[in-house]
Amino acid sequence: MALDQSFVGRTYPPTDPYEVGREKIREFAEAIGDTNPAYIDTEAAKALGHSDVIAPPTFVFAITFKAAGQVVADPQLGLDYSRVVHGDQKFAYRRPVRAGDRLTVTSTIESIRSMAGNEVIDIRGEVHDEAGEHVVTAITKLVARRAEEA
């Protein structure tokens, strides 16, 4: 069943702040095998002009995807999550995420399209810091594959 087009443009309430931990950044960098000192060494990060260690570019996805869960789980929208795959992912950064940031995410349904029986939904997550400054925008395209013919 096609998703309701009237949900396009719907914005969900901002999430509670997520505090970016220095050790969480280190854990993530280790998990992707990335030894860039800007992620683990405050002095190295400062030498690059950052006020503290920064997070790898895709780190913020854990926060924005959790926020997108509001959309995915919205019973009124009725997305069948068991059929959902991650289609595209984009980030546009105002500045890198860094340790100590307290980040909130505001999710908006950017578009809903039906393509060859698949439902394609774009969710935009706007990430702001404690001062209300924009940090990064994440665009997540989810594809709900067509249900199998009975």
């Binding site: 998990a31 992707i32 095998g33 990335d34 800007a38 790898p56 595209d88 992912q89 984009k90 950064y93």
Partner: protein, 144 residues
């Protein structure tokens, strides 16, 4: 931001140093923990096959994370990345053995976007088992 690559030293067609990233089942378990993505298709072979996959597959976001290292290692400062986007075209299938899978990433400067901002667009190619696993994989980077 302090990129170690100068805008003036880069031309369209400049190739970034390519890199290969091995990924095993252990890598995926570690990434699941660090990212909070515990979808069983990334660690449970039985579950993965039940939902029609050939085997356990890597997190798309893991592939996205390692691919951009070709850019951040080149430029030095990961904070120089202004934009980054990918399409997940094929899964990276990770067999249950010591070698696992290999993600091979190459990248080329595709456009010089803005002489004032000193931004370039880098197009990335990521392959595993001779299949392109990312499409439309592009980063915009601010150079020195």
């Amino acid at each position: 931001m302090t990129a170690k690559i100068a805008y003036d030293d880069v031309e369209v067609g400049t190739e970034l140093p390519a890199q290969d990233f091995p990924v095993t089942r252990a890598t995926l378990v570690q990434y699941a923990g660090a990212s909070g993505d515990f979808n069983p298709i990334h660690w449970n072979e039985k579950f993965a096959k039940e939902v029609g996959l050939p085997d356990v597959i890597a997190h798309g976001m893991f592939t996205m994370a390692v691919a951009v290292r070709v850019v951040t290692d080149w430029v030095g400062d990961p904070g120089a990345v202004a934009e980054y986007g990918v399409r997940f075209t094929k899964p990276v299938v990770v067999p249950n053995d010591e070698d696992g899978a290999l993600i091979e990433v190459s990248a080329t400067v595709a456009a010089k976007l803005d002489d004032e901002e000193r931004t370039v667009r880098v197009d990335l190619t990521a392959k595993s088992a001779d299949q392109k696993v990312l499409g439309m994989s592009r980063a915009v980077v601010r150079l020195a």
